[in-house]
Protein backbone atom coordinates (compact mmCIF):
# COMPACT_ATOMS: atom_id res chain seq x y z
CA UNK A 1 0.00 0.00 0.00
CA UNK A 2 2.84 2.33 0.88
CA UNK A 3 4.51 1.37 -2.39
CA UNK A 4 1.48 2.64 -4.32
CA UNK A 5 1.31 5.76 -2.19
CA UNK A 6 4.96 6.61 -2.82
CA UNK A 7 4.56 5.77 -6.52
CA UNK A 8 1.53 8.06 -6.83
CA UNK A 9 3.40 10.94 -5.23
CA UNK A 10 6.38 10.38 -7.48
CA UNK A 11 4.21 10.34 -10.60
CA UNK A 12 2.44 13.48 -9.49
CA UNK A 13 5.71 15.28 -8.81
CA UNK A 14 6.97 14.27 -12.25
CA UNK A 15 3.94 15.77 -13.93
CA UNK A 16 4.29 18.93 -11.85
CA UNK A 17 7.79 19.40 -13.23
CA UNK A 18 8.25 21.14 -16.59
CA UNK A 19 11.22 18.87 -17.29
CA UNK A 20 8.98 15.84 -17.69
CA UNK A 21 6.73 17.64 -20.15
CA UNK A 22 9.79 18.72 -22.15
CA UNK A 23 11.01 15.12 -22.20
CA UNK A 24 7.61 13.95 -23.46
CA UNK A 25 7.54 16.60 -26.20
CA UNK A 26 11.11 16.06 -27.42
CA UNK A 27 10.77 12.28 -27.43
CA UNK A 28 7.61 12.58 -29.45
CA UNK A 29 9.14 15.01 -31.92
CA UNK A 30 12.21 12.86 -32.52
CA UNK A 31 10.21 9.65 -32.96
CA UNK A 32 7.93 11.43 -35.45
CA UNK A 33 10.99 12.62 -37.36
CA UNK A 34 12.47 9.11 -37.49
CA UNK A 35 9.13 7.71 -38.62
CA UNK A 36 8.76 10.24 -41.42
CA UNK A 37 12.29 9.63 -42.73
CA UNK A 38 11.71 5.87 -42.79
CA UNK A 39 8.27 6.31 -44.33
CA UNK A 40 9.88 8.26 -47.16
CA UNK A 41 12.31 5.37 -47.68
CA UNK A 42 9.45 2.89 -47.67
CA UNK A 43 7.58 4.85 -50.32
CA UNK A 44 10.68 4.82 -52.54
CA UNK A 45 11.17 1.07 -52.09
CA UNK A 46 7.50 0.19 -52.36
CA UNK A 47 7.37 -0.42 -56.17
CA UNK A 48 10.23 -2.98 -55.96
CA UNK A 49 9.03 -4.84 -52.87
CA UNK A 50 6.35 -7.14 -54.36
CA UNK A 51 8.97 -8.76 -56.62
CA UNK A 52 11.26 -9.77 -53.72
CA UNK A 53 10.74 -13.06 -51.88
CA UNK A 54 10.47 -12.50 -48.10
CA UNK A 55 10.57 -8.76 -48.52
CA UNK A 56 10.28 -6.64 -45.37
CA UNK A 57 6.94 -4.96 -44.84
CA UNK A 58 5.83 -1.56 -43.58
CA UNK A 59 6.33 -2.51 -39.95
CA UNK A 60 9.87 -3.79 -40.40
CA UNK A 61 11.00 -0.86 -42.52
CA UNK A 62 9.25 2.01 -40.73
CA UNK A 63 8.07 1.03 -37.26
CA UNK A 64 11.09 -0.93 -35.98
CA UNK A 65 13.55 1.92 -36.76
CA UNK A 66 11.19 4.43 -35.19
CA UNK A 67 11.08 2.36 -31.98
CA UNK A 68 14.86 2.08 -32.08
CA UNK A 69 15.04 5.86 -32.36
CA UNK A 70 12.77 6.07 -29.31
CA UNK A 71 15.24 3.83 -27.46
CA UNK A 72 18.05 6.21 -28.38
CA UNK A 73 16.13 9.21 -27.08
CA UNK A 74 15.54 7.30 -23.87
CA UNK A 75 19.31 7.04 -23.47
CA UNK A 76 19.27 10.76 -22.82
CA UNK A 77 15.75 11.22 -21.45
CA UNK A 78 15.84 8.47 -18.82
CA UNK A 79 18.73 10.02 -16.83
CA UNK A 80 16.98 13.39 -16.84
CA UNK A 81 13.77 11.92 -15.49
CA UNK A 82 15.37 9.62 -12.90
CA UNK A 83 18.06 12.01 -11.66
CA UNK A 84 15.89 13.60 -8.99
CA UNK A 85 14.31 10.44 -7.60
CA UNK A 86 16.45 10.18 -4.47
CA UNK A 87 19.06 12.92 -4.83
CA UNK A 88 16.49 15.71 -4.78
CA UNK A 89 14.86 14.27 -1.66
CA UNK A 90 18.23 14.13 0.01
CA UNK A 91 19.01 17.68 -0.96
CA UNK A 92 15.72 19.22 0.10
CA UNK A 93 15.53 17.16 3.29
CA UNK A 94 12.30 15.38 2.37
CA UNK A 95 14.04 12.02 2.62
CA UNK A 96 13.74 12.37 6.43
CA UNK A 97 9.98 12.21 6.00
CA UNK A 98 10.24 8.80 4.35
CA UNK A 99 12.95 7.55 6.68
CA UNK A 100 11.02 8.47 9.83
CA UNK A 101 7.72 7.12 8.46
CA UNK A 102 6.70 3.49 9.00
CA UNK A 103 7.88 2.34 5.58
CA UNK A 104 10.75 0.03 4.69
CA UNK A 105 13.64 0.85 2.36
CA UNK A 106 12.24 -1.72 -0.06
CA UNK A 107 8.90 0.11 -0.09
CA UNK A 108 10.67 3.39 -0.84
CA UNK A 109 12.74 1.99 -3.72
CA UNK A 110 9.91 -0.06 -5.24
CA UNK A 111 7.51 2.87 -4.87
CA UNK A 112 9.88 5.20 -6.64
CA UNK A 113 10.58 2.67 -9.39
CA UNK A 114 6.88 2.05 -9.90
CA UNK A 115 6.20 5.79 -9.99
CA UNK A 116 8.85 6.53 -12.57
CA UNK A 117 7.83 3.46 -14.59
CA UNK A 118 4.24 4.72 -14.65
CA UNK A 119 5.56 7.91 -16.17
CA UNK A 120 7.67 6.02 -18.72
CA UNK A 121 4.73 3.77 -19.60
CA UNK A 122 2.79 6.89 -20.49
CA UNK A 123 5.76 8.07 -22.57
CA UNK A 124 5.92 4.68 -24.31
CA UNK A 125 2.17 4.64 -25.02
CA UNK A 126 2.38 8.08 -26.56
CA UNK A 127 5.35 6.88 -28.66
CA UNK A 128 3.25 3.89 -29.75
CA UNK A 129 0.59 6.21 -31.10
CA UNK A 130 3.03 7.45 -33.76
CA UNK A 131 3.39 4.08 -35.59
CA UNK A 132 -0.31 3.40 -35.03
CA UNK A 133 -1.06 6.53 -37.06
CA UNK A 134 0.14 4.54 -40.10
CA UNK A 135 -3.09 2.54 -39.81
CA UNK A 136 -4.85 5.43 -41.52
CA UNK A 137 -3.12 4.45 -44.80
CA UNK A 138 -1.99 0.84 -44.44
CA UNK A 139 -1.84 -2.28 -42.30
CA UNK A 140 0.69 -3.23 -39.65
CA UNK A 141 2.23 -6.49 -38.50
CA UNK A 142 0.84 -6.49 -34.97
CA UNK A 143 3.11 -9.28 -33.76
CA UNK A 144 6.22 -7.37 -34.80
CA UNK A 145 4.82 -4.15 -33.32
CA UNK A 146 4.03 -5.86 -30.00
CA UNK A 147 7.46 -7.42 -29.71
CA UNK A 148 9.13 -4.12 -30.57
CA UNK A 149 7.02 -2.31 -28.00
CA UNK A 150 7.89 -4.93 -25.37
CA UNK A 151 11.54 -4.38 -26.25
CA UNK A 152 11.19 -0.65 -25.72
CA UNK A 153 9.41 -1.13 -22.37
CA UNK A 154 12.08 -3.54 -21.11
CA UNK A 155 14.81 -1.18 -22.26
CA UNK A 156 13.19 1.73 -20.42
CA UNK A 157 12.71 -0.38 -17.29
CA UNK A 158 16.43 -1.23 -17.20
CA UNK A 159 17.30 2.43 -17.77
CA UNK A 160 14.95 3.56 -15.02
CA UNK A 161 16.36 1.08 -12.50
CA UNK A 162 19.91 2.13 -13.36
CA UNK A 163 18.95 5.80 -13.04
CA UNK A 164 17.26 5.19 -9.69
CA UNK A 165 20.38 3.53 -8.34
CA UNK A 166 22.64 6.32 -9.59
CA UNK A 167 20.33 8.84 -7.94
CA UNK A 168 20.92 7.22 -4.54
CA UNK A 169 24.66 7.80 -4.87
CA UNK A 170 24.68 11.60 -4.78
CA UNK A 171 22.75 14.57 -3.45
CA UNK A 172 23.22 16.44 -6.75
CA UNK A 173 20.66 15.63 -9.46
CA UNK A 174 22.98 16.82 -12.23
CA UNK A 175 25.73 14.48 -11.11
CA UNK A 176 23.21 11.64 -10.99
CA UNK A 177 22.06 12.47 -14.54
CA UNK A 178 25.57 12.57 -16.00
CA UNK A 179 26.61 9.36 -14.26
CA UNK A 180 23.47 7.58 -15.41
CA UNK A 181 24.02 8.78 -18.97
CA UNK A 182 27.60 7.51 -18.91
CA UNK A 183 26.51 4.14 -17.55
CA UNK A 184 23.74 3.74 -20.12
CA UNK A 185 26.00 4.80 -22.97
CA UNK A 186 28.48 2.17 -21.85
CA UNK A 187 25.80 -0.54 -21.64
CA UNK A 188 24.49 0.50 -25.04
CA UNK A 189 27.91 0.18 -26.71
CA UNK A 190 29.40 -2.61 -24.65
CA UNK A 191 29.67 -4.79 -27.75
CA UNK A 192 32.44 -2.53 -29.07
CA UNK A 193 34.75 -4.13 -26.53
CA UNK A 194 34.47 -7.45 -28.30
CA UNK A 195 35.28 -6.32 -31.83
CA UNK A 196 38.44 -7.94 -33.14
CA UNK A 197 38.59 -10.34 -30.19
CA UNK A 198 38.05 -14.08 -30.20
CA UNK A 199 34.54 -15.30 -30.98
CA UNK A 200 33.79 -16.26 -27.36
CA UNK A 201 34.76 -12.86 -26.01
CA UNK A 202 32.89 -11.06 -28.75
CA UNK A 203 29.67 -12.93 -28.10
CA UNK A 204 30.05 -12.34 -24.34
CA UNK A 205 30.28 -8.55 -24.73
CA UNK A 206 27.58 -8.56 -27.34
CA UNK A 207 25.37 -10.50 -24.92
CA UNK A 208 26.06 -8.03 -22.11
CA UNK A 209 25.18 -5.00 -24.23
CA UNK A 210 21.57 -3.85 -23.99
CA UNK A 211 21.40 -3.20 -27.74
CA UNK A 212 21.63 -6.85 -28.78
CA UNK A 213 18.55 -7.75 -26.70
CA UNK A 214 16.66 -4.67 -27.82
CA UNK A 215 17.47 -5.34 -31.48
CA UNK A 216 16.31 -8.95 -31.24
CA UNK A 217 12.91 -7.84 -29.95
CA UNK A 218 12.71 -5.10 -32.59
CA UNK A 219 13.19 -7.81 -35.24
CA UNK A 220 10.35 -9.78 -33.72
CA UNK A 221 12.46 -12.45 -32.01
CA UNK A 222 10.99 -12.97 -28.55
CA UNK A 223 13.55 -15.02 -26.65
CA UNK A 224 13.09 -15.64 -22.93
CA UNK A 225 16.83 -15.00 -22.49
CA UNK A 226 16.32 -11.39 -23.62
CA UNK A 227 13.42 -10.94 -21.20
CA UNK A 228 15.40 -12.46 -18.33
CA UNK A 229 18.37 -10.21 -19.17
CA UNK A 230 16.23 -7.09 -18.69
CA UNK A 231 14.51 -8.37 -15.57
CA UNK A 232 17.85 -9.31 -14.03
CA UNK A 233 19.19 -5.87 -14.76
CA UNK A 234 16.17 -4.20 -13.15
CA UNK A 235 16.38 -6.47 -10.10
CA UNK A 236 20.13 -5.90 -9.70
CA UNK A 237 19.88 -2.12 -9.75
CA UNK A 238 16.87 -2.07 -7.42
CA UNK A 239 18.63 -4.28 -4.88
CA UNK A 240 21.70 -2.05 -5.12
CA UNK A 241 19.50 1.01 -4.53
CA UNK A 242 17.91 -0.56 -1.44
CA UNK A 243 21.33 -1.50 -0.07
CA UNK A 244 22.58 1.99 -0.75
CA UNK A 245 19.69 3.64 1.11
CA UNK A 246 20.31 1.35 4.06
CA UNK A 247 23.99 2.19 4.03
CA UNK A 248 23.19 5.91 3.92
CA UNK A 249 21.74 5.72 7.44
CA UNK A 250 24.92 4.06 8.68
CA UNK A 251 27.47 6.19 6.86
CA UNK A 252 28.06 9.88 7.08
Amino acid sequence: MNILNIAARELRSLFLSPLSWAVLAITQAFVAYALLVKLELFLQLKPHLPGLPGAPGLTAIVVAPALKAAGMVMLLAAPLVTMRLVSEERRSGTLSLLLSAPVSMTDIVLGKFLGVMSFFSIVALVILLTPLSLLTGGTLDYGLLASGFLGLLLLIASFAAAGLFMSTLTAHPAVAAVSTFGLLLLLWNLDWAGTGAAEGVRSLFSYLAVTSHFNALLQGVVDSADLIYSLLMVATFLVLAIRRLDAMRLGH
Partner: protein, 321 residues
Amino acid sequence: MGEQSLIEVANLHRRYGDVHAVQGLDFRVRRGEVLGFLGPNGAGKTTTMQMICGVLAPSQGTVRIGGVDLLEDPIAAKRQLGYLPELPPLYREFTVDEYLRYCAHLHGLRKHAATKAMQETKARCGLQDNGRRLIGNLSKGYQQRVGIAQAILHRPAVVVLDEPTVGLDPIQIREIRELMSELGNDHGVILSTHILPEVQAVCDRVQILHEGRLVLDEDLVQLSKSQRPRSTRVKFRRPPSRTALTGLAGVGRVESLDADTLRLHHADDDSLAERIVTASVAGDWGLYELISESRSLEEIFVELTFGEGRGRDEQNPGTGT
Protein backbone atom coordinates in the same frame (compact mmCIF):
# COMPACT_ATOMS: atom_id res chain seq x y z
CA MET B 1 10.87 -0.54 32.66
CA GLY B 2 8.02 1.80 33.45
CA GLU B 3 5.24 1.58 30.88
CA GLN B 4 4.99 5.34 30.97
CA SER B 5 8.40 5.68 29.31
CA LEU B 6 7.68 6.56 25.69
CA ILE B 7 11.26 7.07 24.69
CA GLU B 8 14.13 5.14 26.16
CA VAL B 9 17.60 5.89 24.97
CA ALA B 10 20.40 3.73 26.31
CA ASN B 11 24.14 4.12 25.81
CA LEU B 12 23.68 5.87 22.47
CA HIS B 13 26.81 6.59 20.45
CA ARG B 14 27.35 8.03 17.02
CA ARG B 15 30.65 8.45 15.23
CA TYR B 16 31.23 10.29 11.97
CA GLY B 17 34.62 8.98 10.96
CA ASP B 18 36.94 10.20 13.69
CA VAL B 19 34.40 12.56 15.19
CA HIS B 20 32.56 11.12 18.16
CA ALA B 21 29.43 13.25 17.87
CA VAL B 22 27.26 11.56 20.48
CA GLN B 23 28.97 9.84 23.37
CA GLY B 24 26.85 7.52 25.43
CA LEU B 25 23.50 9.20 26.03
CA ASP B 26 21.01 7.65 28.46
CA PHE B 27 17.62 9.15 29.11
CA ARG B 28 13.88 8.54 29.15
CA VAL B 29 10.86 10.60 28.25
CA ARG B 30 7.52 9.84 29.90
CA ARG B 31 4.06 10.41 28.54
CA GLY B 32 2.95 13.94 29.22
CA GLU B 33 6.47 15.27 29.41
CA VAL B 34 8.11 17.93 27.28
CA LEU B 35 11.87 17.52 27.18
CA GLY B 36 13.97 20.45 26.01
CA PHE B 37 17.31 19.79 24.37
CA LEU B 38 19.73 22.65 24.77
CA GLY B 39 23.24 22.92 23.53
CA PRO B 40 25.53 24.98 21.39
CA ASN B 41 25.76 24.24 17.66
CA GLY B 42 27.52 20.96 17.04
CA ALA B 43 26.68 19.56 20.47
CA GLY B 44 24.94 16.53 18.94
CA LYS B 45 21.29 17.59 19.33
CA THR B 46 20.28 17.02 15.73
CA THR B 47 22.27 13.79 15.49
CA THR B 48 20.54 12.47 18.60
CA MET B 49 17.11 13.38 17.27
CA GLN B 50 17.87 11.77 13.92
CA MET B 51 18.85 8.58 15.69
CA ILE B 52 15.66 8.59 17.77
CA CYS B 53 13.65 8.94 14.55
CA GLY B 54 15.50 6.27 12.60
CA VAL B 55 16.88 8.66 10.02
CA LEU B 56 20.39 7.90 11.19
CA ALA B 57 21.58 4.55 12.54
CA PRO B 58 23.40 4.70 15.88
CA SER B 59 26.98 3.46 15.98
CA GLN B 60 26.14 1.81 19.28
CA GLY B 61 23.29 1.70 21.77
CA THR B 62 19.52 1.26 21.66
CA VAL B 63 16.47 3.43 21.15
CA ARG B 64 13.03 2.21 22.21
CA ILE B 65 9.88 4.04 21.17
CA GLY B 66 6.85 3.09 23.25
CA GLY B 67 8.69 -0.06 24.31
CA VAL B 68 9.51 -1.14 20.74
CA ASP B 69 13.16 -1.39 19.75
CA LEU B 70 13.78 0.92 16.81
CA LEU B 71 16.48 -1.29 15.31
CA GLU B 72 14.66 -4.60 15.71
CA ASP B 73 11.24 -3.50 14.51
CA PRO B 74 11.64 -0.10 12.85
CA ILE B 75 8.18 -0.04 11.25
CA ALA B 76 6.27 -0.66 14.48
CA ALA B 77 8.45 1.85 16.32
CA LYS B 78 8.11 4.54 13.66
CA ARG B 79 4.33 4.20 13.66
CA GLN B 80 4.36 5.96 17.04
CA LEU B 81 6.66 8.72 15.90
CA GLY B 82 6.24 12.20 14.48
CA TYR B 83 9.38 14.06 13.44
CA LEU B 84 10.04 17.60 12.32
CA PRO B 85 13.63 17.83 11.11
CA GLU B 86 15.64 21.04 11.22
CA LEU B 87 14.74 21.61 7.56
CA PRO B 88 10.98 20.92 7.23
CA PRO B 89 10.55 17.99 4.78
CA LEU B 90 8.16 19.73 2.40
CA TYR B 91 7.41 19.10 -1.26
CA ARG B 92 7.21 22.66 -2.51
CA GLU B 93 5.26 21.80 -5.64
CA PHE B 94 2.36 20.33 -3.62
CA THR B 95 -0.53 22.13 -1.99
CA VAL B 96 -0.86 21.89 1.79
CA ASP B 97 -3.81 19.47 1.46
CA GLU B 98 -2.06 17.22 -1.05
CA TYR B 99 1.03 17.12 1.10
CA LEU B 100 -0.77 16.37 4.35
CA ARG B 101 -2.86 13.69 2.66
CA TYR B 102 0.32 12.03 1.41
CA CYS B 103 1.78 12.14 4.94
CA ALA B 104 -1.44 10.71 6.37
CA HIS B 105 -1.34 7.84 3.87
CA LEU B 106 2.31 7.18 4.65
CA HIS B 107 1.34 6.68 8.28
CA GLY B 108 -1.43 4.31 7.36
CA LEU B 109 -4.42 6.63 7.75
CA ARG B 110 -7.01 5.85 5.07
CA LYS B 111 -9.57 8.01 3.31
CA HIS B 112 -11.98 9.11 6.03
CA ALA B 113 -9.51 8.94 8.89
CA ALA B 114 -7.00 10.90 6.81
CA THR B 115 -9.51 13.68 6.03
CA LYS B 116 -10.51 13.94 9.68
CA ALA B 117 -6.91 14.04 10.89
CA MET B 118 -6.09 16.68 8.29
CA GLN B 119 -8.92 18.94 9.36
CA GLU B 120 -8.09 18.64 13.05
CA THR B 121 -4.40 19.22 12.48
CA LYS B 122 -4.92 22.17 10.19
CA ALA B 123 -7.13 23.79 12.80
CA ARG B 124 -4.54 23.09 15.48
CA CYS B 125 -1.72 24.63 13.46
CA GLY B 126 -3.71 27.57 12.11
CA LEU B 127 -3.68 26.34 8.53
CA GLN B 128 -7.45 26.17 7.89
CA ASP B 129 -7.37 28.79 5.16
CA ASN B 130 -4.22 27.54 3.42
CA GLY B 131 -5.24 24.05 2.35
CA ARG B 132 -5.28 24.86 -1.35
CA ARG B 133 -2.13 26.96 -1.44
CA LEU B 134 1.17 25.72 -2.83
CA ILE B 135 3.67 25.04 -0.07
CA GLY B 136 6.41 26.77 -2.08
CA ASN B 137 4.39 30.00 -2.03
CA LEU B 138 3.85 30.04 1.74
CA SER B 139 5.92 32.26 4.01
CA LYS B 140 8.60 30.63 6.13
CA GLY B 141 6.41 30.72 9.22
CA TYR B 142 3.57 28.94 7.48
CA GLN B 143 5.94 26.39 5.97
CA GLN B 144 7.16 25.71 9.49
CA ARG B 145 3.55 25.18 10.58
CA VAL B 146 3.03 22.69 7.76
CA GLY B 147 6.15 20.90 8.98
CA ILE B 148 4.73 20.75 12.51
CA ALA B 149 1.33 19.65 11.15
CA GLN B 150 3.05 16.78 9.36
CA ALA B 151 4.71 15.68 12.61
CA ILE B 152 1.51 15.58 14.69
CA LEU B 153 -0.98 14.60 11.96
CA HIS B 154 -1.23 10.92 12.84
CA ARG B 155 -1.37 11.63 16.59
CA PRO B 156 1.90 9.88 17.37
CA ALA B 157 2.75 9.07 20.97
CA VAL B 158 6.17 10.62 20.50
CA VAL B 159 6.79 13.96 18.81
CA VAL B 160 10.33 15.06 18.04
CA LEU B 161 10.77 18.68 16.95
CA ASP B 162 14.14 20.03 15.88
CA GLU B 163 14.20 23.80 16.40
CA PRO B 164 10.48 24.25 15.73
CA THR B 165 10.36 28.01 16.25
CA VAL B 166 13.25 29.01 14.01
CA GLY B 167 12.32 31.74 11.55
CA LEU B 168 8.95 32.54 13.08
CA ASP B 169 7.78 35.98 14.15
CA PRO B 170 7.07 36.60 17.86
CA ILE B 171 3.32 36.06 17.53
CA GLN B 172 3.78 32.80 15.68
CA ILE B 173 6.35 31.71 18.25
CA ARG B 174 3.79 32.24 21.00
CA GLU B 175 1.19 30.21 19.12
CA ILE B 176 3.62 27.37 18.41
CA ARG B 177 4.73 27.35 22.06
CA GLU B 178 1.12 27.04 23.16
CA LEU B 179 0.72 24.17 20.71
CA MET B 180 3.79 22.46 22.13
CA SER B 181 2.60 22.79 25.72
CA GLU B 182 -0.73 21.38 24.60
CA LEU B 183 1.01 18.45 22.91
CA GLY B 184 2.86 17.80 26.14
CA ASN B 185 -0.43 16.89 27.80
CA ASP B 186 -0.95 13.60 26.02
CA HIS B 187 2.26 12.97 24.08
CA GLY B 188 5.92 12.67 24.86
CA VAL B 189 7.68 15.58 23.25
CA ILE B 190 11.36 16.28 22.61
CA LEU B 191 12.27 19.65 21.24
CA SER B 192 15.60 21.26 20.61
CA THR B 193 16.17 24.97 20.67
CA HIS B 194 18.72 27.70 21.11
CA ILE B 195 16.20 29.95 22.80
CA LEU B 196 16.46 29.61 26.56
CA PRO B 197 13.18 31.28 27.56
CA GLU B 198 11.43 28.82 25.27
CA VAL B 199 12.64 25.96 27.43
CA GLN B 200 11.36 27.72 30.53
CA ALA B 201 8.05 28.44 28.83
CA VAL B 202 7.17 24.99 27.53
CA CYS B 203 9.45 22.29 28.92
CA ASP B 204 9.04 20.10 31.99
CA ARG B 205 12.60 18.92 31.87
CA VAL B 206 15.76 20.30 30.36
CA GLN B 207 18.85 18.50 29.14
CA ILE B 208 21.97 20.36 28.16
CA LEU B 209 24.21 18.61 25.67
CA HIS B 210 27.80 19.57 25.21
CA GLU B 211 30.24 17.85 22.87
CA GLY B 212 28.05 14.79 22.66
CA ARG B 213 27.51 14.32 26.39
CA LEU B 214 24.70 15.22 28.76
CA VAL B 215 25.99 17.86 31.13
CA LEU B 216 22.67 18.61 32.77
CA ASP B 217 19.43 16.67 33.12
CA GLU B 218 16.98 18.29 35.50
CA ASP B 219 13.30 18.97 36.07
CA LEU B 220 12.53 22.62 35.54
CA VAL B 221 10.82 22.69 38.94
CA GLN B 222 14.03 21.46 40.57
CA LEU B 223 16.03 23.83 38.48
CA SER B 224 14.03 26.87 39.50
CA LYS B 225 14.48 25.83 43.14
CA SER B 226 18.21 25.73 42.68
CA GLN B 227 17.93 29.07 40.98
CA ARG B 228 16.55 30.71 44.14
CA PRO B 229 18.48 33.81 45.11
CA ARG B 230 21.73 33.11 46.89
CA SER B 231 22.96 36.68 47.05
CA THR B 232 21.49 40.18 47.31
CA ARG B 233 22.99 43.37 45.99
CA VAL B 234 22.32 46.47 48.07
CA LYS B 235 23.21 50.16 47.87
CA PHE B 236 23.21 52.44 50.89
CA ARG B 237 23.64 56.21 51.11
CA ARG B 238 25.32 55.78 54.46
CA PRO B 239 26.77 52.25 54.54
CA PRO B 240 26.76 50.64 57.96
CA SER B 241 29.67 48.72 59.37
CA ARG B 242 30.18 45.16 58.11
CA THR B 243 29.52 43.72 61.52
CA ALA B 244 26.11 45.39 61.52
CA LEU B 245 25.32 43.58 58.27
CA THR B 246 26.75 40.19 59.19
CA GLY B 247 24.80 40.58 62.42
CA LEU B 248 21.58 40.26 60.41
CA ALA B 249 20.19 36.73 60.69
CA GLY B 250 21.01 34.66 57.58
CA VAL B 251 23.73 36.82 56.07
CA GLY B 252 26.96 34.93 55.52
CA ARG B 253 29.66 36.85 53.75
CA VAL B 254 29.66 40.55 52.76
CA GLU B 255 31.49 41.54 49.59
CA SER B 256 31.94 45.17 48.61
CA LEU B 257 31.61 45.80 44.89
CA ASP B 258 32.28 49.53 44.77
CA ALA B 259 31.99 52.61 47.02
CA ASP B 260 28.37 52.17 48.07
CA THR B 261 27.44 48.77 46.58
CA LEU B 262 27.63 45.63 48.67
CA ARG B 263 26.80 42.02 47.92
CA LEU B 264 25.41 39.95 50.74
CA HIS B 265 25.79 36.18 50.35
CA HIS B 266 23.15 34.17 52.14
CA ALA B 267 21.25 30.92 52.20
CA ASP B 268 17.92 30.41 50.44
CA ASP B 269 15.78 32.78 52.50
CA ASP B 270 12.59 34.62 51.56
CA SER B 271 12.49 37.03 54.46
CA LEU B 272 16.00 38.44 54.29
CA ALA B 273 15.06 41.42 52.10
CA GLU B 274 12.46 42.40 54.67
CA ARG B 275 15.01 42.29 57.51
CA ILE B 276 17.49 44.39 55.51
CA VAL B 277 14.85 47.07 54.93
CA THR B 278 13.79 47.07 58.58
CA ALA B 279 17.41 47.33 59.77
CA SER B 280 18.10 50.10 57.28
CA VAL B 281 15.19 52.16 58.48
CA ALA B 282 16.08 51.58 62.12
CA GLY B 283 19.77 52.46 61.59
CA ASP B 284 19.14 55.23 59.02
CA TRP B 285 21.47 53.59 56.45
CA GLY B 286 19.67 55.16 53.50
CA LEU B 287 18.93 51.99 51.49
CA TYR B 288 18.10 52.98 47.90
CA GLU B 289 18.58 49.78 45.88
CA LEU B 290 18.05 46.09 46.64
CA ILE B 291 18.35 43.40 44.01
CA SER B 292 17.93 39.66 44.57
CA GLU B 293 20.47 37.94 42.38
CA SER B 294 19.50 34.54 41.00
CA ARG B 295 21.28 32.29 38.59
CA SER B 296 19.37 32.22 35.33
CA LEU B 297 19.13 29.22 33.02
CA GLU B 298 21.30 31.19 30.68
CA GLU B 299 24.06 31.45 33.25
CA ILE B 300 23.84 27.73 33.94
CA PHE B 301 23.96 27.07 30.21
CA VAL B 302 26.96 29.28 29.64
CA GLU B 303 28.75 27.86 32.65
CA LEU B 304 28.20 24.26 31.48
CA THR B 305 28.90 24.64 27.81
CA PHE B 306 30.77 27.80 27.07
CA GLY B 307 33.32 28.08 29.86
CA GLU B 308 36.25 26.44 28.07
CA GLY B 309 35.39 27.94 24.70
CA ARG B 310 35.33 31.46 26.08
CA GLY B 311 38.60 30.86 27.87
CA ARG B 312 40.23 29.86 24.60
CA ASP B 313 38.80 32.86 22.78
CA GLU B 314 40.11 35.25 25.36
CA GLN B 315 43.58 33.79 25.08
CA ASN B 316 43.61 34.42 21.34
CA PRO B 317 41.75 37.69 20.90
CA GLY B 318 43.32 38.35 17.49
CA THR B 319 42.17 35.16 15.77
CA GLY B 320 39.01 34.69 13.79
CA THR B 321 39.00 38.05 12.05
